[in-house]
Symmetry: C2
Subunit: 464 residues, 2 copies
């Protein structure tokens, strides 16, 4: 009885507003769902990108080749417009890296430089190590114990489907070198922010701040972090030698690559689906974020194949230089600041190949019922309704504070942190059936949002 | 009825010979089984070796440290004798290695030099590649198609519990460079002899022969081999640049490390259990063959803990330089040629950490019933009786042709070729319960063989 009453009350707002999706829109959605679930387009896009271009670190020649590849592909697909928007990006180069225990148990370590790290002085650095379980432990440490040593932060990431183990650990990647330098350390050895037990070091961006000495920073593979911990249990004085010859090439020009399907009746309103085109330099950027490129490209391809255009404009954005600090995302935000009010909704695929299991959002409360109906359309693909506190994915996360509604199409990331930012991020890690489903979900999301009769603004934001 | 009759006939020889194991021997076997299945000794040995020594390539300083480690450990255990037997070993060094596609899809490849490979000329080698599915296909090729190119052999290894996928594929590692050079190739790129989908290149020894030009030889990771195959499907002219600076340091001295528990009544008869102490240089040699070292060391430790000595002498041999061609094994064979007739039986643990699921042998037919009873003692540990055509493990495989009986304690190698000969061969890949069971099996095997009342010779050998 109570339940029926509640259902009635919940159903009430729907009856007072226009249906968010017309019969015709829903009929096309059925066609798109069927078509997308028989298409390998997304997989083929990733295959092409990772094979013909491979790794594409911002500012490199490979990055430029990736931009050319994306532009040519978009033009061949028949987008109504394709354009490049220049982005100034830092061009950092990994170079040679070597680390080894010198005493008392000499042996090599598997490491990789963190992105943005400076090089070691000529001849390398040799020092004892001091271990901390977490960044907070380092921050609480007596500087006298740290001075002149390598700081080793051994924070192990936990595995979750939604990747929530990442946030608490990745702080040490961003801020660890500064915290270590403030205590007088000579370098940072970070346990890879990763769920993998394999001997890959996971790179990722780190930051310096003005006024704090820059020290070199590297990631250790999980097995190497365990090895160091075992050594320290045997003997407190473990000496490490580190040689890095990273290079800072200054600033280069890259591009956000944009393809548009012009809307039939509300062309000035934008539904943005994005992914980032750049990748780290050691893998081929298949899961991160070739998969996202494949998913949003396939979604556009499927909609282009309809005889009917969406009412709103569908804009596919392949962002530049996500990995080194959302550079393309900020450039997009700044360049389009005068038209952000016209962005109906934005979403980014940047968490592997899927499958997508949940749709989160950040829209006005009055639009929640439309998301319930949207979820009904996604339910045959295995997608459930989630929360309304999404930030929409890394590159679009800069938009909600400017009022732009976002959706988060949550991908199963159980294995994502086994591979991301390593040499092992290669095409074979993508399950064709997973990326097919993800592309189908993005197709339906884009189509339904581009034709929805619902106001999504103003959006709720957390208080500062 | 038939079955009962057969059982009666099979039982007959037993009734005509002495029981192979006395009640006292079997009683101690019960104690040993219980003790061993509660001990983590084997795991702790591997932990110590892989942590304190790490990789130990023959001829290196680390190899010498491993010998010192083993000698000290054996002495501390209370063996009746511990000795080092010098072995002349080749000292090869990996050095720097880099390979990349230069055209038309420039990107780095994950490779590693095959053991024994020469370096490339200064400045490296750049050439097109030609792919062969197998060594046989290369051998059948027209030299005009191969001349001046890198040969890429893409033979994928199949996964089996007993590792039988290795033999058909590893031939190309040993002989591929010679076969390629005979057709005029400039170098060999071998798909790693591996079952792994991760981006590790698996090293392993290769050979040159007199009169054939030496060309550099490397292994590619599986994902890189797939990448090359995809590229070749897009475009036939794929250019690779290879730089290797391997070094041949000539000959160095290493040692077979031998510990003995002297037999109480048949001290001149030897039960040999072995493993190899050396490892490849990139991992820490945990599965290959730290695990074997742990298993045979723990077996001796458990038997030393008895108040009673075995009738025969138990000899534990930690062989030098197995990886680069059974060098320690051949030195042992030659040094002990006058006493090989006194070797009652030999077995080696060199296939990971287990568990052991089967016992094979190569003994006289009249001793098969004793192996049936031996298997009964191992059955509580999950071990079944296997065949009688064993070679006993790599280092003892040189002994049967000289008349020495051997046993093969077959380990579950389903995952072994995911890790072996890579940087990923580290302690965390060893399951404590698996190595515990393997050590218990070796303990019982050694104890029962050292006290058996059965003649194992002459052994059957395949005709030449």
């Amino acid at each position: 009885m109570k339940r029926s009453l509640a259902a009635l009350v919940l159903a009430l707002p729907l009856s007072l507003t226009a249906a968010p999706f017309s019969e015709l829109t829903l009929s096309h959605a059925d066609n798109l769902r069927q078509h997308a679930m028989q298409s390998d387009h997304a997989y083929r896009v990733v295959e092409s990108l990772t094979t013909e271009i491979g790794p594409r670190l911002p500012g490199t020649h490979a990055d430029q080749r990736a931009v050319d590849w994306a532009k040519a592909r978009f033009e061949a697909m028949g987008f109504d417009s394709v354009r490049l928007e220049p982005v100034e990006v830092p061009h950092w180069e990994r170079g040679f890296a070597d680390a080894r225990i010198t005493l008392p148990f000499p042996q090599p370590l598997v490491i990789t430089a963190l992105g943005n790290s400076i090089a070691t002085p000529d001849g390398g650095l040799e020092a004892a190590i001091i271990r901390f379980a977490t960044l907070a432990d380092l921050e609480a440490a007596d500087p006298a114990a740290v001075k002149g040593k390598f700081v080793f932060i051994d924070h192990k990431m936990a595995r979750f489907k939604d990747g929530r183990g990442y946030g608490p650990v990745v702080k040490a990647r961003g801020r660890g070198a500064v915290a270590a330098a403030q205590k007088g350390a000579v370098g940072l050895l970070l346990r890879s922010v990763s769920t993998s037990g394999h001997r890959f070091a996971h790179t990722g961006v780190m930051r310096y701040v003005d006024g704090v000495t820059k020290i070199p920073a590297v990631a250790l593979s999980g097995p190497d972090a365990d090895q160091l911990t075992r050594m320290l249990a045997l003997q407190s004085d473990i000496q490490v030698k580190l040689e890095l010859d990273t290079l800072d090439h200054g600033v280069a020009t890259s591009y956000n690559v944009i393809g548009e399907i012009h809307g039939s009746s509300k062309a000035d309103e934008i539904v943005l689906i994005g992914a980032h085109l750049d990748s780290w330099d050691e893998g081929t950027g298949a899961l991160d974020d070739g998969a996202g490129v494949g998913i949003v490209t396939a979604a556009a391809q499927h909609i282009l194949a309809l005889e009917r255009r969406p009412q709103r404009t569908l804009r596919v954005v392949l962002y530049a230089a996500e990995e080194i600090g959302l550079i393309g995302a900020k450039a997009y935000r700044d360049r389009h600041k005068d038209t952000l009010d016209n962005h109906y909704i934005a979403a980014e695929a940047d968490f592997g190949a899927g499958p997508i299991y949940r749709i989160d959002s950040r829209v006005n409360d009055s639009a929640l019922s439309a998301f319930t109906l949207l979820t009904e359309q996604l339910a045959p693909l295995g997608v459930e309704r989630g929360h309304n506190a999404s930030w929409g994915g890394p590159d679009v996360s800069v938009l909600p504070v400017l009022g732009v509604p976002v959706a988060g199409l949550a991908m199963d990331g159980t294995d994502y942190f086994d591979y991301h930012h390593t040499p092992d991020d290669t095409l074979d890690k993508i399950k064709p059936e997973a990326i097919q489903q993800s592309a189908a979900v993005y197709t339906l999301f884009a189509w339904l949002m581009a034709n929805a009769e619902t106001e999504l603004r103003p959006i709720p934001l957390p208080s500062q």
